[in-house]
């Protein structure tokens, strides 16, 4: 079960897996996520569903190596099986014909934005895509996004590819240029989503973000993933992961996301690279 059928290294430290999980694939929708464990006694980590194939019964995940579990995951190969894989979790994206929408993907967030862009376009929207990365070699799926969107703009923080600028710079240009935009969907690192929301607030442009708070069960049982949205406590795993970005308490989220910083460091050092992944360095 949960066999890896395809592996692709998209960029240094960013990989893609197609995972055999027919039960998940049969009902997966854009915006939802899975939780997996690589090994017994491993951590349960959430990853967004970047794509799915109901016929083949597969789920595509794209992940970045940031710590012990994701580094370990990157060492898995075609034919290997994951210990556990559960989903689809969370609420799917709300898709309807809004008119003109912008989707913004930053870093590894380019992957989860893809099925949302595709669904929005299929629903009849004019979809303007903006994708960006720190540097050109970390950028992936430009082609896929180009066909999922009506129009795609690309940027890099350091200007090593296409142009220099943050996704927010491009977003500002798009808003100024196009005027009426009904909705913005932004997925990426927390600071990026926060910056997008600060910008779109000025234009009163409704913005949906996908929150990656720390999770354990992903079914609403532990409350670890709680976030404050519009002054109320929500569980990101069942009430989200997508929320109205203008209502999210990003400062709280940022502080809660580093709760285990010390332990994450210990985990990496303890790991001491028995698998050759570079842990412990």
């Amino acid at each position: 079960m949960y066999k890896i059928l395809k592996k692709e290294v998209l960029a240094p430290t960013i990989s893609l897996f197609d995972i055999e999980a027919p039960m998940v694939a049969r009902s997966a929708r854009a915006g939802q996520f899975v939780i997996l464990r690589t090994i017994d006694e491993g951590e349960r980590i959430p990853l967004t569903i970047a794509d799915f194939d109901r016929e083949k019964g597969t789920i595509t995940c794209v992940f970045q190596e940031v710590g012990k579990t994701t580094k370990e995951l990157a060492k898995f190969d075609v034919g290997d099986s994951l210990k556990d894989f559960v989903g689809p979790l969370g609420e799917p994206s709300h898709i309807e014909n809004f008119g003109r929408v912008v989707v913004v993907g930053g870093g590894v967030g380019v992957a989860p934005i893809h099925p949302i862009a595709r669904a929005l376009k299929e629903a009849g929207n004019e979809v303007i895509g903006i994708i960006g990365a720190r540097t050109g070699e970390l950028l992936f799926w430009e082609d896929k996004l180009r066909s999922a969107c009506t129009e795609l703009r690309v940027t890099t923080d350091d200007g090593s590819y296409v142009r220099q600028g943050f996704v927010t710079d491009v977003l500002k240009e798009v808003i100024e240029e196009k005027g009426d935009i009904a909705l913005c969907v932004a997925i990426g690192p927390l600071p990026m989503m926060r910056a997008v929301c600060n910008l779109t607030k000025e234009y009163n442009l409704k913005t949906i973000v996908s929150l990656n708070s720390i999770m354990v069960d992903g079914t609403g049982m532990c409350g670890c993933c709680r976030v404050t949205v519009g002054g109320q406590t929500k569980f990101a795993c069942v009430d989200g992961p997508e929320f109205d970005g203008h209502q999210v308490d990003f400062a709280e989220m940022a502080r809660r996301s580093v709760i285990y910083k010390e332990q994450e460091q210990i985990a990496m050092e303890h790991h001491q690279c028995t698998c050759g992944c570079g842990g412990g360095k």
Partner: protein, 463 residues
């Protein structure tokens, strides 16, 4: 023969030693002690103990067999009524059930029924489980949602009747609260998994990592999955918070998160197991039930220097099993009674540094008959803590109720089911355990699973 006034003491790990490890606290009787304890039973004709047992175990009969060293006979007798004796012998609140009504208990300490039960069940686990009879296959399929004590019991009974049973469990292991909630030191996970293995031997298919309402709804299971009936035993897994300021600060856990990280994810083995937990130096646990005791005792074992139970009523109202409160105290857990927090205080980095509390006094008895706590105005004080664990109760997880058409629930979100039959408002769908009653006990959940199994069997036989 003179009556022995007291229960034979339960051998236990030394409190000082055990407060630092996760091994089982109560070590269990040996054969001589169990025979001696069983001999305290008067074999009353009316057996008042039985009325206190929610599943009506034939208590004098199994105790008699134990006193005669016929442990195989004793476990068989127990299992006629109780599917999980190794679990119940450890976690049932016997002082409110069978032992409360025991004749010996009128003048002396009651017979240690739970301890004898545990011995017999452990004897069976050590000597090989007796083969169970399974009826001819019926070709009927039943879906069980949730693998807590209610689901496990319902599954076992239906499998024995020859039905094809599949359990769908959201987490990566079966057992429900027995695996993720109740700590290893009170209920070793190997004991629970032995029971789960038992089910597999009966031919029950256990699908873990299967969240019903997500990968498929109950309706889809019945319409597309070919299931003829379903039992919902999804428990009370939704943690309640106090709704006081500061509750989302770093260092505030729900008891569910604190215990799940420790028990299910084995954070006590970190970094050998990957999931971390942060316990701090001084921990306050809010609440007074079994869940709170488990969290406070777990905190000590994870290395906390001080672990406090903060409870708004007094010691006599503690809803936890007596033995747990006693064990907690022996291990060094401290109690702040008649106290409840008003806000959690945190530093610039959002880490908990303290908790402001109010003192309470007991007023008039409330609907539950317990004297209700009343805050004393102006009694605010601050205690220094760096971790807070909220253990004030859990509600039903809304996932299944929300996604099942025509399933009626009450205002609190509990599924409405007939307690005599387990039947819900939806034909073919039965429910039981905490999702129906609200957070209760293992034995009540088990009893509900058994009741529903009977009804499901009747329903399938008439189909």
């Amino acid at each position: 023969m003179a009556v022995i006034p007291n229960k034979h003491p339960m051998p236990a790990q030394d409190p000082v030693v055990r407060a630092k490890n996760f091994n089982e606290v109560a070590l269990g009787y040996d054969e001589e002690t169990v025979v001696a304890e069983a001999s305290r039973c008067l074999q009353c004709k009316k057996a008042p103990c039985r009325q206190g047992c929610p599943v009506e175990v034939d208590i004098p009969a199994f105790i008699k067999l134990a006193s005669e060293r016929d442990f195989a006979g004793a476990i068989k007798k127990l299992k006629e009524k109780n599917a999980l004796p190794a679990v119940c012998g450890r976690v049932c609140p016997q002082e409110n059930q069978c032992e409360k009504y025991c004749t010996v208990g009128k003048k002396n300490e009651p017979v240690g029924i739970g301890r004898i039960e545990r011995f017999c069940a452990d004897w069976e686990l050590a000597n090989g489980v007796l083969p169970q009879q399974v009826a001819e296959p019926t070709s009927k399929k039943v879906a069980i949602v949730g693998s807590g004590p209610s689901g496990l019991t319902c599954a076992a009974d239906l499998a024995k009747l020859g039905h094809k049973v599949t359990i769908f469990e959201a987490l990566h292991v079966a057992g429900g609260v027995l695996m993720y909630g109740i700590p290893e030191f009170r209920l070793p996970k190997a004991v629970v998994q032995a029971e789960v293995q038992n089910l597999k031997n009966l031919g029950v298919d256990i699908q873990v990592n299967a969240v019903v309402g997500k990968f498929a709804t109950v309706d889809q299971l019945m319409e597309e999955g070919g299931f003829d009936a379903a039992f919902i035993g999804t428990g009370a897994g939704l943690p309640y918070f106090m709704n006081i300021p500061g509750e989302n600060a770093c260092g505030v856990y729900s008891a569910n998160e604190f215990l799940t990280r420790t028990n299910l994810m084995k954070a006590y083995k970190f970094p050998d197991a990957d999931t971390p937990i942060r316990v701090g130096k001084k921990v306050a646990v809010l609440g007074g039930g079994n869940v709170a005791m488990d969290a406070a005792r777990t905190a000590l074992r994870l290395g906390a220097e001080e672990s406090w139970i903060v409870y708004r009523r007094s010691k006599t109202e503690l809803p936890a099993r007596h033995e747990e409160a006693e064990h907690a105290e022996e291990e060094g857990v401290k109690f702040a009674f008649l106290t409840s927090p008003t806000r959690i205080i945190y530093d610039d980095n959002y880490w908990v540094t303290g908790m402001e509390c109010l003192r309470y006094e007991l007023g008039e008895p409330d609907a539950s008959g317990r004297r209700s706590p009343v805050p004393i105005e102006g009694s605010e004080f601050v205690i220094d803590v760096d971790t807070v664990v909220v253990a004030i109760g859990q509600g039903p997880n809304p996932l299944v109720p929300r996604t099942t058409k025509g399933l009626e629930c009450n205002k609190k979100g509990n599924i409405i089911a007939n307690l005599e039959t387990g039947a819900t408002s939806k034909p073919g769908v039965y429910a039981g355990g905490d999702v129906v009653t609200g957070a209760a006990t293992v034995i009540l959940a088990m009893g509900a699973g058994r009741t529903a199994a009977k009804s499901i069997h009747a329903y399938l036989s008439g189909k």
